[in-house]
């Protein structure tokens, strides 16, 4: 029985259109939406790292969480919970971010880049699929970060409230924050417009449970293709949108261009694009969802996902403070630092340890 879940498709279409619109309105090319990049920019605007080109208070992150929270409240699905291995989740969030930033994009941006014809993203997708596959091997053997518990409502409000405060403070007292004057951080759609678009996307994503990791994971584990339709919808909308509108020179919406070279905010260090997204894929499976899904769950009151988001922001700061992020536009040989290579490989060891120690203890004969 193959029943297409139209809510997921609609959600994917909404994300695709939103990403095209946000690039046309000023966000960087092939980066209308990128959870990893935007959390990295937030880490930058807060002064947690000093990479001058990637600092901005991205309203998309705030909007996604708020949109999901409002929808969850309306549907009676908002529930504060937590306590499922929070420290491990923090670490996993950081590793997912470090892997994603070597490639220069979260799983969502990977699809947007692929939709724009950037074949480096295809290499990354192969790594992502492998990472998810490895993660599912442990899930099948009973891996879990243990159960969570219902908590006071205030716990579920921590991340949404912090983001609102940060957003309001940014608008009222911009001098307190660092803002890029050039580079990707300087390119952004108008704050309020981006906020509203992201809120709509967050609401859709809450309803449909859209997740870049979940689609491939469920297909591999249960032959359940529900979430995969959303993943494919994003790709199709992006390709069509770029073919149709890319020539109109709207903002930073670039035309569809197939190839490896001269792609926006990208590099062609294939081995490390592959391994970076393999790390992100495996880590995301252990977390239970991609970076986008973590934001949506945090909006639903999930404190464990909020901790993963904090971990991702910390991971972004570590990435830039230690020179781990991929260097956009550099030749393949120089795009990924030795530090990054060491950390990526160590990251796999850490994921393996986390995967093994969280398998069930008792074994049935």
């Amino acid at each position: 029985m193959k029943k297409v879940n139209w809510m997921v498709v609609l959600s994917g279409v909404a994300v695709g259109i939103a990403a095209l619109a946000l690039s046309a309105l000023g966000n960087p090319a092939n980066m209308g939406f990128c959870i990893a990049c935007f959390e990295r920019d937030i880490a930058g605007t807060l002064g947690l790292h000093s990479a001058a080109v990637v600092q901005y208070m991205r309203p998309e992150i705030i909007g996604l969480v708020l949109g999901a929270m409002i929808m969850a409240l309306v549907k009676g699905e908002f529930r504060a919970k937590g306590g499922s291995s929070p420290a491990t989740r923090f670490l996993l969030g950081a590793l997912v971010m470090i892997g994603a930033l070597v490639f220069l994009g979260c799983p969502l941006r990977m699809m947007l880049r692929l939709g724009g014809g950037d074949l480096n993203a295809l290499v990354a997708l192969l790594g992502f699929v492998l990472g998810i596959f490895v993660g599912t091997l442990f899930l099948k053997r009973g891996f879990s970060l243990k159960r969570s518990y219902t908590l006071g409502t205030a716990e579920g409000a921590v991340l949404p409230v912090l983001l609102i405060v940060a957003g309001v403070a940014f608008l009222l007292f911009p001098a307190l924050f660092k803002v890029s004057e050039k580079g990707p951080g300087s390119m952004h759609a108008p704050f309020i417009v981006a906020l509203l678009i992201a809120m709509a996307v967050g609401a859709f994503a809450q309803r449909s449970r859209l997740c870049m990791v979940g689609g491939l994971r469920d297909a591999m584990m249960f032959k359940d293709f529900k979430l995969l339709y959303g993943f494919v919808a994003i790709l199709i909308v992006t390709i069509l949108g770029k073919l149709a509108l890319g020539g109109l020179k709207m903002g930073n919406l670039t035309p569809f261009k197939l190839g490896f070279t001269e792609q926006p905010v990208a590099h062609s260090a294939h081995v490390w694009n592959f391994l970076g997204m393999a790390l992100a894929g495996w880590g995301s499976v252990l977390l239970g969802g991609c970076p986008l899904r973590q934001l949506i769950l945090a909006g639903e009151g999930n404190g464990d996902s909020a901790v993963a988001v904090f971990g991702m922001i910390a991971g972004a700061a570590i990435s830039h403070n230690f020179g781990l992020a991929g260097a956009a536009g550099k030749p393949a040989a120089e795009a990924v630092s030795l530090n990054a290579k060491v950390v990526i490989l160590s990251g796999f060891v850490i994921l393996l340890i986390i995967s093994l120690v969280n398998l069930p203890k008792e074994k049935k004969a």
Partner: protein
């Protein structure tokens, strides 16, 4: 009986999958506490040939799977 309360998806689905694989029960009770898990377990159960009835018990959902 699979008590998957407190677990986030896809773990509850994996727990049900493992229970079905191990014992292939005619009837299985599954407890979950998230709407999304009800949806996911239902999809998996139906694909595995079970009928599903769900009753809500406070914050929890009790799912009865029958072959």
């Amino acid at each position: 009986m699979v008590d998957a309360r407190g677990y986030s998806c896809p773990i509850p689905v994996v727990m049900v999958q493992r229970a079905v694989k191990a014992e292939n029960p005619q009837n299985l009770t599954v407890l979950v506490d998230e709407q999304v898990c009800v949806e996911n377990v239902t999809r998996f159960a139906k694909a595995s040939g079970y009928s599903v009835t769900v009753t809500r018990d406070g914050d929890d959902y009790r799912m009865e799977l029958k072959k």
